[in-house]
Assembly symmetry: C2
């Protein structure tokens, strides 16, 4: 029995609600510019992701142009989320390698996700700390502004 089928990569495409405007599985071949429209990334960046191993090798048309699938879009969604966490690209490449290597990397992937989760929580806490400082300064400025206003109206 195989818990995760690497060939269909269900484990790594459960990244959220599906995007709109997708074609049904089966005739899901998107050009690079369509993927640009979906993801907001540039074509340059998409090719670069592929070069550095952050994307699997993308299918090609008979003339060599890239044709992305729904699965590729799902993967890009996940990558987008991981990028938002501030995870370095090198770490995402590592994760992509683990996925490619198959089921036996399960534990390492799990650990990586949990570590990332902790990092995100820590970052949120950090931001809450800066928010407190910001609020203190903002209310200081607001008070100063009120003092200025009453000064002016006198």
């Amino acid at each position: 029995m195989t818990v995760m089928e690497t060939t269909t990569a269900r484990t790594d495409t459960c990244a959220g609600p599906p995007q709109q405007n997708r074609r049904p599985d089966g005739d899901d071949h998107y050009t690079i510019s369509e993927v640009v429209a979906f993801t907001g990334l540039t074509a340059h960046t998409l090719r670069w992701y592929e070069r550095i191993g952050l994307m699997p090798h993308i299918d090609r048309s008979h003339t060599g142009q890239r044709r992305y699938t729904n699965r590729d879009l799902d993967w890009l969604d996940l990558v987008g989320k991981l990028r938002l966490t501030g995870m370095p690209v090198a770490d995402m490449v590592r994760y992509a390698e683990l996925v490619r290597e198959g089921d036996h990397t399960y534990v390492e992937r799990f650990e990586l996700l949990k570590t990332t989760r902790e990092d995100v929580l820590a970052r949120i806490d950090e931001l809450r700390g800066t928010l407190a400082v910001l609020d203190r300064k903002i209310s200081f400025y607001a008070d100063a502004g009120r003092a200025l206003a009453s000064e002016r109206s006198r």
Copy 2:
């Protein structure tokens, strides 16, 4: 009447609880390596901050070595917080310029702080979104792990 005294910079040093191990105002002269210990920044970075205008000109000893004051440390605390928000250095330099320019930049500083606050709130929300995705994947992996375990024990 002057709402904010730029010379004492009270407005820009209310950044939080004071650091430990500081000397009392009056004989507060710290070498660059002491400031490194306080802030966690490198000496290179401290000099670079000064060069780009993110720090005011720092006092010098009779031989030309930098002597930081408590006020400088307060400012570095604030810079550290702003840096944690992800604010670009160029924007922090802009803020530093506003402080140097005096009271008439009050409104602009206020706006800048409020914008930063909104950015931080948006960033926290973004991170919460990624956290949701991460949690979904993590629980997926946990379930897969349990399935694997029961498989093994059978």
